[in-house]
Each structure stands twice: as C-alpha cells, then as structure tokens.
Subunit: 717 residues, 2 copies
C-alpha cells in the first residue's frame, strides 16, 4: 500500500532543515500576514496605540502575544503608550481599572461575566472612540485578547460589534499521563514535554508556548503527572521542579495539579500505613500539602486514581472512597485546594460487570464527599472506547461535585497514525439525556452544575501532547486539543463550529480547503467506529498496547479479554446488559432503560453494547446483523479512502510539509483500517458461519496471520 520510499524522499527533500515549510509547531497561533487591506489597516491602527491600565505578569503575557501578532500579521512592532489619552486607540484593563470611563450599566454587565469572562467593543470617552478589551481579572482579558486575535485570523473582526463571553465550566483541565522518566502512558506524540531532569534550572521555551496554546483555548488547569502515580513527585526535589513550571504557567491563568499516590505515606513518608483515618497519615498529607503550597501558593490540588487497576487506595484499610478523598481534601482545604477523585474504579476481584462497578461504589456515597472534592467520571463506563453510551453516574449522584474526563489522546482511536476528530463523539455524550436530576437534564447540563447548585465544575481531558515537533504527532490531532479547550469552555458548542474554527486558524480561509477539511474532520469519527467497533462493539483491541484489532484476546483476568465484551457465539454477538443479563442498563434513569432496553428500539450504534443479538437479527436497513457488521467495517475502509482522495485534491493549497505529513499518515490509516476489517470479520465469521455480503471488498489474509502479529515496542505503555 505504501508508495515506493524514494518517491517520498524526493517529495520531502524540498522542505527540509532550512526551508520555511510548516512543521506544525505554531498550532492555531500561526500569525500570518493579513491579506485584506481594510482589516490590516484597522489592526495596525489598534496595535499602534495600545494602552494598558496597569501592570501585572498577565499583562506582560498579553504584550508578548501582541508583539507576536504585530510581527506575524503586520511585520511591525506594536506601540505602547504611557498615557491613556495620548495617541491611543486600544485600551486594555480590568473593569476596576477602567471604572472611570465605563458606564455603570457596562460595569454591571462586565461584572456579571465572572472572574474569567471578558467584554470587547468600542467605548466612547470625551468624544473619542476607543477599542477596549476588559475583564474582571487579568486572565479574563487574556482570554478576550486571544478571542480578538482569532477574530482577525478568521477575518470576522468588526470593531463596532460588541462581544462578551465567559466559560461555563470552572476547571478546564488537561490531565497529562506523563511519567517521571518522560515516558507517557497512552502517549503517541513522542515523550513527555516535562524535562524533569533539567528542571528547575532549565526552562525550555516550549513550556511557555504550551501555556500560550492552552490559554488561547481557555484551559486553566493542568495535572502534570500520570494518574498511575509515582510518589516521588511529592518529594521536595520534585516540588521545586513543579514550582518552576507553575511560575511559567501562572501569568497564563493556568494552575498546576499533581497526582497523589495514595500510598505515598509509606513510600516517601516512612510510615507503615496509608490508612486515611490514621493520625500520622493525616499529618503526613497535611505537612506535604503545606510544603507544596510553600512552593506554589496557588497550587491547584491533587488528582487521585485509587483502588483501580492495582493502584493503592483506601480499600486496603477497609475505608471507602469518601474517606480516602476527604482526608486529602481536608489537607488541601485551608489553602483553597481541590481534590479530584477518579470514578474509574473496577476490580478483577469483583465478578460484577465492570460497567456497573463505579455506580455501585459511588452512588451510596453521594453527599458524603467534602465540598472541595470533585468526582471525575469518564465519558463512558468502560474505558474511552471508540464509542460509548454516556456513563450512568452522570445524573445518578447529585449531591456531589462531578466532572467529566474525556480522553484527547487516541488510545483506542488510532493512536499515532489515524486522523480522528473526536468532537462529534464528545458532543454526542454531552447532549445525551440523563433525565436526572431533571427531565430535561443532559450530561452537559449536569456538568455545568446549575441543576444541582454544584459549586465546582470540571472538564478534564487526557492530554495528547508530547515532544513531537507538532506537539500531537498527527497534525490533525491538534484539532482534538483545540476542541477540548473550546468544549470545556462551552459544552454547548457544536462540532461544526469547532471544526470550522480550527480549520481556518490552521489552514487559512480558502473556502474549498475549509469545506473539504471540515468534511474530513466531521466524518472521521464515524469512519473510525465503522472500521474498529461498529454497532456497539467494544474492547476488542490488541492486548495491553491497544494497538490494532484483537477480538481474540484471551487469558489473564477476564475483564481484560475481548470475548468478555463481545460475547460472540454461534447464535449471535453482543453483551446483554439488560435486566436479563448483567443489569447494567438499570443503572440509568427509567427513561433510558425504556429507550435502550428493546433491541428493536435502541439506536443501532449502541445495539451490541446492551444486547446479545442473533446473527440474523434484522437491522433497520434490512441487513441481517451479520451483513450489517460486514457493511460497517467495509464502509469504514472505503471512507478512509475517500478521506485520502479529498486530501489529495487539496495538494496545491496546502503547505507541502503538512500535505505530505498527512498524506503519509492517511496511507497508514488505510492499511490499518483494512487490518481492522479483515481481522475482525475473519474472526467473527468463525462464530457466524455465514458468508460475507458480496457487495463488500472481501476480507483478505489469514486469521492466524493477524493473530500472530506482535508489537513489542508499541508506544504508549
């Protein structure tokens, strides 16, 4: 399937080391010269008359950004005035700083936007007009500035139109699963950008660009370390290193969190126990936390994975999750810190359907967690599968702060090589109706916390960032980082809006380019589901590294095998989670149970997630189930080829390095889609004993060959 290598070489030769080709490093902050003359002169006039109503580190960060904008868009330097009335056109400051020039109405309007909101628009003062970006806090202004820059990049800036915005979720957070040796669990973009060894003495300029990129999309918190945690991060040496990063991030409004290993009192505290009710343990965490705040006065808090997949936790001491979480929360509370406790818990000693275990653990504890605890719940109950129904905990607990955990890194969605825009999947989850606590509740409305008066709200995304020059390995994976930020800021935004914005910022505004790339983006998730896990199939990937298909994976603990999940046999396929089966469906609201309980009514995308269905079951389009599975897999492969054609048609309009980067990866994606289709269909055919539909490309290859493939150095583990 690959073109001869020499082809590629010749292709690449012309944009190596010294050329100006785009290597993707600048992300969506690639400030290109403004083409449109009236926009150009308007921006120029603003950048030549800037006045800041004060000084602080965030304003310095804004100045740096304006310098870069002026350099990139106008090839000039901005002019900062020392007198607000002397040749100024552009005012930047907080509501308080500008109070003398703002009407009371405007002040009230801005105040209502909260700590991170901003307003931008024209102000009349003493007969003159000024463009202003105003927030209640400097960080809000920073967000406003990035929004203003985006409006220039997308050619939508209009001075006379006012614009105001504020985030709907309080904590918008990246979770790095980065280990202290710089490997990244489920990382497919190289290695950890945190160079712990050279910290705190060496500040890589990349840390600043990381902060800029996050701030530009509204991310305001990062957890630096893997949830499968190493207690060493809590030693003094590492606190100093984390402090150095926190100091870099602070002007960008980004707080640092760290993962806390529950057994740290034993590993680094010299204690014999980590029992959360033990006074010495309580004292250990109090002191540790105090020390942390001595280095990082605005430290965000801890993120904890406990009693899951072998991680230590309160269960070892006969305590429950609330007792474990609250003990840490108490240590953080005096400093205003937050304790995030993951709901992704399941045990191989528990025979209950893994799907049910989180609800079984957490529902009885609802209301028992401290105010500064947030329960972080994955979007689905299994584990970031290509598609999952929403997690039944959303809506089930309503007296506890809950937050979302999405996975930006593509552990189950093509890893290093597949183009998959995840936003439609996230949107599907956020718009899912929970029917609890109110009949109109959705996952998104639960997260916004209004219905429950939830004080702390959170959306976390497991980072896809690494040392690769373009940050995310696949250029298009940048869109998922971008989209996560946008969605955390506003869970009601649509995939179409995000796709358009990212594409324009990344590839410019040629309408053919935007239309075609958006088409690629918006179809890519359904395409991946088709060639990986259609119709509600799940957890049938390669063992451990999760790379490629592995529906035959057996051995070891049952809930890590594939047949546990697909349940294929001579009669049919799928996991019966109705009350006739595991009963997991009953953890949802009755309305959901009713909608999804009948295999003829449930949306087909979730069919095999909840039902064991005969091979000859009739799908809505008249296919039997077996035919439908085959058609989905085949369509997935064909849609990848369609993506390739669409991409190829843009060759003349895309930077050559970017073009070839994506072209090569799409060729790999085509091979991997074929691999998934062939391997899965050949395998499932051993149960269905039915021929493939004649209208599909016949799966080729030998099942034994596919089963024999080994990837001992696959990345991300």
């Amino acid at each position: 399937m690959y073109r001869p290598i020499y082809f590629t070489l010749l292709f690449c030769l012309f944009f190596s080391l010294n050329s100006s080709a785009n290597d993707g490093y600048k992300l969506w902050l690639d400030y290109q010269p403004i083409q449109e003359q009236s926009l150009k002169s308007e921006v120029k006039s603003l950048l030549e008359g800037i006045y800041f109503f004060g000084e602080n580190p965030t304003f310095d960060a804004i100045k740096n950004e304006l310098n870069l904008v002026a350099k990139g868009m106008l090839n000039s330097d901005p002019i900062y005035s020392k007198d607000r009335l002397q040749n100024t056109t552009f005012w930047i400051g907080t509501r308080e700083q500008l109070s003398q020039v703002l009407s009371l109405t405007k002040q009230a309007e801005i105040k209502a936007l909260g700590a991170e909101g901003y307003w931008r628009g024209e102000i009349e003062f003493e007969g003159k007009s000024y463009y202003a970006i105003i927030g209640n806090q400097p960080v809000g202004i920073l967000y406003g500035v990035y929004n203003w820059i985006n409006s220039i990049q997308s050619n939508t800036f209009n001075k006379s139109i006012e614009f105001a915005d504020a985030p709907k979720i309080k904590l918008r957070m990246l979770n790095h699963w980065d280990n202290l040796d710089r490997t990244v669990e489920r990382g497919y973009a190289g290695f950890s950008i945190w160079d712990w060894h050279r910290l705190p003495g060496y500040i890589d300029p990349r840390y600043i660009d990381y902060a800029r990129a996050n701030a530009s999309i509204g991310i305001n918190a990062v957890s630096l370390t893997n949830v499968n945690a190493n207690a060493l991060i809590l030693t003094t040496d590492f606190m100093k290193k984390a402090k150095a990063l926190a100091d870099v991030f602070r002007p960008y409004g980004i707080k640092v969190f760290l993962t806390a290993r529950f057994s740290a009192p034993i590993q680094i505290g010299g204690l014999k126990t980590a029992d959360p009710l033990d006074p010495e343990v309580i004292e250990f965490w109090k002191k540790k936390t105090d020390e942390m705040y001595s280095f990082i006065p605005d430290f965000g808090g801890f993120l904890v994975k406990a009693n899951s997949e072998g991680q230590p936790g309160p269960h070892e001491y006969g305590r429950n999750h609330a007792e474990g979480a609250n003990m840490l929360a108490d240590a953080l509370a005096p400093h205003g810190g937050i304790l995030i406790w993951r709901a992704f818990v399941y045990s191989h000693e528990d025979e209950v359907d893994r799907h049910m275990q989180a609800n079984n653990e957490f529902e009885p504890l609802d209301g028992k967690f401290k105010d500064n605890v947030i329960i972080q719940i994955k979007n689905g109950a299994i584990d970031f599968q290509p598609r999952e129904p929403f997690h039944p905990l959303f809506g089930a607990i309503n007296q506890t702060n809950v937050g979302m955990e999405f996975q930006i890194t593509q552990e189950y969605l093509g890893q290093a090589t597949n183009l998959v825009f995840l936003t439609p999947m996230w949107e599907e989850v956020l718009k899912s109706k929970t029917y609890r606590p109110t009949p109109s509740s959705t996952v998104g409305s639960v997260l916004e916390g209004k219905e429950t008066n939830q004080k702390m709200t959170l959306m976390a995304g497991v980072s896809n960032i690494g040392t690769d020059r373009n940050w995310t390995g696949h250029l298009f994976a940048q869109s998922n980082w971008f989209a996560f930020g946008k969605m955390a800021w506003n869970p009601e935004i649509t995939s179409e809006e995000i796709a358009k914005e990212w594409t324009e910022l990344t590839f410019g505004q040629d309408q053919e380019v935007v239309t075609k790339i958006d088409e690629i983006l918006l179809e890519s998730h359904e395409t991946a589901v088709d060639y990986m896990t259609p119709l509600g199939l799940h957890h049938i990937m390669g063992r451990s590294h999760h790379y490629g298909p592995g529906p035959w994976v057996m051995g070891g603990r049952a809930d890590w095998t594939a047949p546990y999940y697909h349940q294929a046999d001579s009669l049919g396929i799928g996991f019966d989670r109705t009350s006739d089966g595991s009963g997991a469906l009953d953890q949802y609201a009755p309305e959901v149970v009713q909608n999804w309980g009948d295999p003829h009514q449930i949306p087909e995308k979730y069919l095999l997630w909840f039902h064991h269905v005969p091979w000859d079951f009739k799908l809505k389009n008249g296919d039997t189930l077996w035919e439908g599975i085959a058609h989905h897999y085949d369509r997935g492969v064909k849609n990848v080829r369609k993506m390739q054609e669409t991409w190829a048609s843009l060759e003349s309009k895309i930077d050559p390095e970017e073009f070839d980067h994506v072209r090569q990866l799409l060729e790999i994606q085509e091979e991997e889609a074929e691999w998934w289709r062939n391997a899965c269909l050949l395998y499932f055919q051993t149960f269905s004993n039915r021929p493939f539909p004649t209208d599909i490309e016949q799966p080729e290859g030998d099942l034994e060959y596919y089963k024999s493939l080994m990837f001992p150095n696959a990345p991300g583990i």
Copy 2:
C-alpha cells in the same frame, strides 16, 4: 545559584512560538544572507548558471542543498541549465562525466583523491572560465559542495583558489545507542529520533535533515541501534523499517549498520544454541544476512558487543572472539559487508585489572580475524572517562583491522547540562605516541592504517543526537557532533581549526564572538577534568546513571565501584598500574612504560591513573598532592564562572533564544561543578586528614548530604 524563575520567564517570553529566534535546529547549516557584496554577487552568478553533468539521487540531494543555499543566502532560486554551454557558470559532475573538458593531469590528480575525494576550482574551456566541483563519485561531489558552502559561510571563498580534499579514514561512523522503545542509552538529548513504530510508512522530514547534517561533515555510516542489542531488529518487520531509513540516507552517501545480538539465533531463530561453529547457527546468520541485503543492497554490516557487561558472546560456547567475529564476517563477506567487533570487553569473573582485559583477550588473536572484520577500540582502556591515556591495544595488534570508538555523548562529561568541547581530548589521544608498529607511530597514524597496510579504517563516535529540537540537548554539544565528523575525515586536524570553523558556522563571523566562544570551547575540557577527575582520577561518578560525583560508590561487583579505581587510603590515592601494581602499564610499548613508569616523570594529568601516590607527594608546582587535588577542583569551578562571564559579555551579539539557553545551562554547570568539588574534596579529606588550602573557596555542605542524593529518573539509562 539560580536566578528567580520569573526573571527567566520574562526573558523567554519574547522569543517563543511565533518569533524568528534561533532554536538551534538548523545546526551548522543555517544559511544566512550574505552581507559582503562582492561575495554575494559571485555566489549569485554561480547559482544562476548551474549545470549538472548527469542525473542521480545524490545530484538531487545536491540540488536540494543548492536550493536551500540560494533561498537562505540570496533569497532566490538557483537556475539549472539543460545545456552545459548555455549561460552556465558552475559545473558539477564526476571526473568521468567531465573527462572531455579536463586535462589529463587534472584527471589524474582527481582520480588520486579516491572514491570520496573532490576537487573544486576553475576550469578553462573554449575560452571561457567555469567554476567546477568534481569528484570520482557523486558522493565526493556532495562533500565538495558542502565544503564550498562552508567557504561561503566563513567568507573565505575565492574562485581562483583550487581546493582538493579526501578523507583519511574510510568508515566515519555514528554509533547510536538507541533502543527499539526509543530510549537512548547514555542519551541526554531527549529520545531516539528513530520512530520505529511509524516506520516504514512514515518518513519524518528529520531523517533527511539528519542525513544532510552528517554528509556535510563527512560521516558516511551509521549504526542505528544500541550495542546492548535487541534481536528484534533482525526480524523482517524491523528490516523493512531499517530499509526505509537506508533509502533516505543512500543519496547522502551514508550506509546503515545494525547491531547484532550474538544470541539472536536463540531469540528469534528458534535454535537452542548460538555457538558460532554450529552449522545451524552459521546457516541462521547467512540467511539473516541474505535477507538483510534483499532489503538493503548496500547494507554496511553488523556491529557487535559480545561477552562484555553481560552481553552474550562466543565465550558461552568455549569459542574466542575471532571465532565469533569471523562467523558473522563470513555471512557478510559475499555482500561486501563489514563486521565490527568491539574490544570493550571485561568480565566481573576476571579478577585482573579491568584495564588489562581487552589486551589480554585480543593480543593473542592478532591476525586471526577475517579481512572484513574491524576491531573497534575505545580511546581508553576503562570507559570514556573525562580523560584517559590512550588504549594499549592501539599499536599492540598490527595484523588486524582496528578502529577507534570515541564517545560524543557526554556520559561522563556533564551529560545534559555541561558545556564541554571534546575535541582537545580526542586530539590528545590521536596525537599520543604508541611507538608501535613504528617508532613514530601515534594513535592517529595507526588508525589511518598506512603503517600496517590496513585495508579497512574506521572512526566511530557514539552519537549525542536525540529528539531535542536542537538535536544534542546543549547547543554547544552540536560542536562535538561536528568535530567528530571533521576529525574522522582528517585525524590530523587541530582542535583550534575545528573550534573556529564550528563557531563561525554557528554564530557568524563577528571576531569578538568567535574569539570568546573559541576560548570557552578550548578551555572547557580541561575545566571539566579539573572539577570532575583531575590528575588522573577516574570512575568516581554516581552509580549506574553516572550523573554527578560518587567517589564513595561501593557494593556490587568491585569493578563498578569507585574505590576500586581511586584506591584512596590514609597514605595516599591512585591506582598503581606499574609492575609493582596491576602491571597494566606493561601492556604499552617500552618507551611508554619508561615515560609513565616514574611518578615524577609521568605527565601529571595521568599521575593517579598509574600510580598510588602519598598525600604529601610534591607536584611540579610545589603543591603537595593533596593541595594539588584541591587546587584543581577549585580551579574547575572558577573556570566555569569565567565561562559564564565570557558568555554574558556576548549577550548583545547572540540570538536571544540561544543566549538564554546557554546562560541557563551554564548556571546549572556552575552548580554541578561546585557539587563535584565539594563532594569529592569532602570525601577525599576523610582519607587525607589534611586541611584545605586557604586560597581555595572552602568546600561547603555536608558529605552525608551529598551521599544521600538520589536521581532515580536520571536520563540515559
């Protein structure tokens, strides 16, 4: 010692993501606009009249380079003529291709330069004058083109001066100690640039820039994998990946080698033995090698570490190194491949001074190795210490091909953070007199092979390249990669010449900049030796990771402890390797034994390497040994501060990102130099029981504190 972080932040802010600051990626190939008008017009006239006397992939690579030169230096595109007499000024081709326009004398002169040599100068033809770059093979022309480019960069190009050159060593090779999981043993610049997982489908543009950089300094071979080898590299899947890299490198004249794990017949061949005399083992390697050549027709060969530090080898089967090496060499011979066998062998089961073990193993085998075997010998007998006397094998075996193994990566010389220019150390080794096989022989002359009629000559350097944006972690570590290439091309070159050339290519030609940076470079090695291991001390670094001082390291096998090497006691310090001691000195030629056998005559830099000397031993400057040790350590620290001052004085003349990068690292180097001095002097004082000289900065801190420091995630292991 560090400045407050916020300082650094503000500093960095102004050259992040979007600016044009220099991140070091372009190495010494950073083609900047030509300032000098006459040079500019001369180069312009040449680049607008290029004629190639033929077509081949290397000429394509040359065209790519000329495109980049024209773009960077002139902001234009070159003009390639299709007719050699039509508006051409610049002729490029092989001697054969140009035979009609060259005098017989000139042809003979060029022919004598060999396959990789080149000539450049003016040719008169039919009354017109052309500038020409000519070689016997395309790769020679490529080297000539890079040499011509360098002459422009250093403003020394003069059309009317002829220049010819050819390498003095045949194989000029990088050894990557890169693992298949992308970790790099002794790597301090991030991770392996070989993205095995995405190969062969994805060709990172960086591979091409890597090839360009190597070709530009004459490197013509690379071993891709760690000498502590993984047999998986010899499986078909990985051969395809290696082939993809070989295809990229081929136009640049670079051959691919791989490391062969001696026990591969067992691990991937399904055999019960790896006995080199076993017919099945012989057949395994023959087939494996044939398969390798089916993918890479010009595959270089294998590099093998056997029976050393736990690696498998022929000893397990009662066979010697020659029997092991020759078996592999026989498999390679039909394809023209080369077998490189490392002489770095020692065993913890052997009680003999580790210094002696290589000679004990290899001297008796001299003459028993096949013609296509090269014995690769480290510069010294222990292990890449900050300074070592030359390895006694050089000159001791003269009927066997021998090659040099230098270490470019700074395992023992400051790793990720210290500025140490290694060339003076290498030069010291190459100029060391071996007195064998001729009275005037040096290590360098032995390597050139003329005295022994050695057919294959080799200089290998253990790579310091990784995924860090600037390739080598420390910007100045680029100088070591550069210097290695230059020295492998011409072992007679001086450190001063290399320093000047690298500095001019990297920082431009401002004479203050060049003078001061050369001063930093040329003093840096002696400085590091002073604060790490003065007067012949060695192997006193931290255990395993080798980061920082560890003169107290005890436990485990004796030859991996520090006291085994420094032998400090209440009487004195140093390893007696004279005939009264281990006798290692006697492995050298009698002239060396005579020069070094007397502690009063031996150069003091090697004193404690060969002699156990009383604390009150008088040094040449009148110091006692104890005082001398203290003065050396103290001078090392002070010289780092001098380097800092020199660097600081250049702030206005250096790119701000580069300036701050080096400034931060020099601050860390100062801290680490103090750490070495304090830890070592406090430790050795427990034996000497003498006060520190009053004229040094008194070592501060607590020995127990230094001993307690742990670096569980230090890079490179």
